[in-house]
Symmetry: C2
């Protein structure tokens, strides 16, 4: 029996990155928890892990610049993508003989990662008696509540975390926005030479027409852009950094022509990776 390949994720088992990784690899790869995104990316660089599951943007909160930076600095390659519909749940230790609202009324403290707390503002506005506590990880704090919590404690995490740590799902879907979707990049060591999509980043001089010239070749070659975002470079007011995703149409000749044209006008250009288009997964 050969050993399974490993995919690293930040957080504890039951974290949304873990669920995204399981959906992407469909059980064929072992997901491995890391304390931080930095450690996870290092593990792939050092071949302790084959892949990393890196959240890169969210439909509510936008792009995650810190992770774009980690990806850029790592020299690793994007080899896949997967999106996950994020559903937050209020998890508690047990269910005394109370109805849901009575059970919520006795809670004193609910903890989670700040990204999760930030996505459940309405719940805390409706329940001002509950103290919001910032914790290192959604699933990690679910485990803490399961092991050390009392009836006054709650966690906000996935249903997978509830199952893993044997917590009761007191209320489902407490996220403010029902269209909360996070897109994760699957990161590996080797750049793939083909793929239905490409992610690139480039810098341009900050002058009229520079972006128009930069993307003209994509239009000429009939390549569809799926994301474009400018990011001001602090300390370089005359230069801009861009993130661009596009569909290659599986035509690597046209893709090559467009990239080459872009390279002629860009000050710098990195191909983050070619990879196949991913779908939107559900937790359950």
């Amino acid at each position: 029996m050969t050993e399974k390949e490993k995919a690293g994720f930040q957080g504890m088992h039951g974290a949304f990155s873990d669920i995204a990784g399981r959906r992407y690899f469909d059980g064929n790869v072992l997901t491995v928890p890391y304390e931080s995104f930095e450690r996870m990316m290092e593990a792939v660089s050092r071949s302790n892990c084959t892949y990393a599951i890196l959240p890169i943007e969210n439909t509510v909160a936008g792009s995650i610049y810190q992770n774009y930076d980690l990806l850029g600095e790592s020299g690793l390659a994007v080899v896949g993508e997967v999106s996950l519909r994020i559903k937050h749940n209020l998890l508690v230790t047990n269910q005394p003989p109370l109805d849901q609202q009575e059970r919520i009324a006795i809670l004193k403290k609910v903890g989670s990662h700040f990204k999760a707390l930030e996505q459940c503002i309405r719940f805390f506005r409706d329940n001002p008696h509950i103290q919001q506590s910032v914790e290192f990880d959604t699933a990690g704090y679910a485990e803490v509540v399961a092991k050390q919590g009392t009836i006054y404690d709650g966690a906000i995490a996935s249903k997978t975390a509830a199952r893993l740590y044997r917590l009761h799902v007191l209320r489902e879907n407490i996220e403010d926005n029902p269209n909360n979707i996070t897109r994760f990049l699957v990161v590996g060591r080797e750049k793939q030479l083909f793929g239905q999509k490409a992610s690139i980043r480039f810098t341009l001089k900050h002058e009229p027409g520079s972006l128009s010239r930069a993307i003209a070749a994509f239009a000429r070659e009939g390549l569809n852009l799926t994301k474009i975002e400018s990011r001001p470079l602090i300390g370089s007011p005359f230069e801009y950094l861009f993130y661009l995703d596009f569909e290659t149409g599986n035509d690597m000749t046209r893709t090559g022509v467009a990239i080459e044209s872009l390279g002629m006008v860009a000050d710098s250009l990195d191909i983050l990776g070619y990879y196949d288009k991913g779908g939107i997964s559900q937790e359950d």
Copy 2:
């Protein structure tokens, strides 16, 4: 004596939005606190307030989609912009005869808005004995600590908040990233007809060349783009929403031609406002 005009901001006096508003209006307008961004925008719509100070993007966290949505729904206009270098400080009630590290060692709980907590990860990583508490507002929680806190409590907020609520600045600049800058839009009821910059949003069909056609006229007219960002429209997989800022060069003829050309290819187009270019302010 005529009554001063009012500019609303979210939070309590000493919030970063308040500081940004004071810098922008240079003391000529009264800044007025609102509990939420929604209430603040409503106040301008109902003429209870002349302006609103709306944070729209941050160099570390990216664009604030919720506030773009509020602006779009409000029908109000962008009439100015101001950027503020965000510096976070650890504020405490008093200074017992302890050195800084000893004083930090006795803290049990430090609270702030989650945006602030998220920008001070290193401080909490270095001080795992401190519980992070999510509070409604940076300056608002500084006031709570000043009024009800003990030597075990701290707040993360501006130096202005420390001065207003008479807290001691125990440690300055605890933000992780020294390039933490938030850009605020100044929002009013009336669209201005001129300005050095323009902010627009538009939707395009998701097909090859659509963005290239959309921005070609800006290049032709010699207008410099300062921001572009695509945002997937959930539930409309074949259409994309774009945010675009550009410099008009004070040439409203060229600007009009570019906008008209864009209008021919866009499915929808909103001019959020024309306004003069703002600088980057410091708190102190």
